[in-house]
Symmetry: C2
Subunit: 204 residues, 2 copies
């Protein structure tokens, strides 16, 4: 039945999970839709409605057990495991992503890094070695990688994305400022700071 | 009347503008809601409806003049000018943002960079000099900066954001993985790769 949950609801679940992690770090064990709503600038009714798609998580009057709701959301989002990620493109952004320490606690780790610059191939960052793009197929198949982060120049984005899909990638987090055209069964999310900045200047 | 346009519509306008820029780079002068829709995976009816909030941009049967629609969207989004940005936090991500060359063509430039690490203050990147956080108020006031990009550690994000608002910042692009609590008149947009990745793993 979860196929029928609107995408906008799914989009809020990671934000709820993030807020729960912070509440837990603050030493709290129980929370409420009111407290979560206040933290997130979302109405408590919206939070209760979103969660009701997936079951009953709190008792009337006693609120939510943070640990239980965390575990439930992790299960719903399939991040009660560690997903290997292929990072494609090791420019400044790729470098920032490799050094980002927030992934493992959230269900992800960068398994492999690819770049087509011969001057970078073979370089070591932490315990990763930058591989040539020609190694993508072998490595992605070998490690059964389903998720890629695309951090290549705009000119290369579409063709690299198509290659990744052919190799077996099912989800792409795209940092190139272009809308990728890929088969409908491929999950795509986009991060473009300009898109966010221009949304804000509308209101300024 | 533009205040009544739903935020989700505003959110799509920068994506339309981005697609128009690419079409123009491809040498095209005219496009249609069908062509745009196909590029963006959005229905042509949705695009026409979104644009109709702001006027008439195409003639029945002849489509949109790309230049005219670009100019119109730039005007609507207030990016027919260059907005100075204060980048706060010069870690790996801050470094990637400073080196990102996509801002000026889209209406933005990084005017000032701040970090509280004395080892970084005074360093030069391109024509920018990293300034101490204590310089924020003076610099942001002097250059009348209204937009900040927040690329500081999660622990510092809320307090730095509050300080920025006090100084006169009206819009914050927040890269820290936390929901900021700020006055309702402040525009906030968030970029957290984990939130995007977890939305995709739901479907995997």
């Amino acid at each position: 039945m979860q196929e029928s949950v609107p995408g906008i609801v799914i989009g809020r679940l990671p934000v709820y999970l993030r807020a729960l992690n912070i509440l837990q770090q603050e030493g709290k064990e129980v929370t409420s839709s009111q407290e979560l709503g206040k933290r997130l600038g979302i109405s408590s009714a919206q939070i209760r409605k979103d969660l009701s798609h997936f079951g009953e998580f709190g008792k009337q009057g006693t609120g939510y057990s943070i640990t239980f709701l965390q575990e439930s959301l992790r299960e719903i989002l399939n991040v009660n495991r560690l997903w290997p990620i292929a990072l494609v493109g090791f420019g400044d952004l790729g470098n920032a992503l490799v050094h980002y320490r927030g992934f493992p606690a959230k269900g992800f780790f960068i398994q492999a890094v690819f770049d087509n610059d011969p001057g970078k191939v073979g370089d070591k960052i932490n315990d990763l070695t930058i591989q040539a793009s020609s190694e993508m197929e072998r490595t992605i198949t070998q490690h059964n990688i389903k998720i890629a982060i695309l951090a290549v120049p705009i000119e290369a984005a579409q063709s690299v994305a198509e290659k990744l899909v052919k190799i077996g990638i099912k989800a792409i987090l795209n940092y190139a400022p272009i809308t990728l055209a890929l088969p409908p069964n491929i999950q795509i999310q986009n991060i473009d700071p300009v898109v966010h900045l221009q949304q804000m200047t509308y209101y300024l």
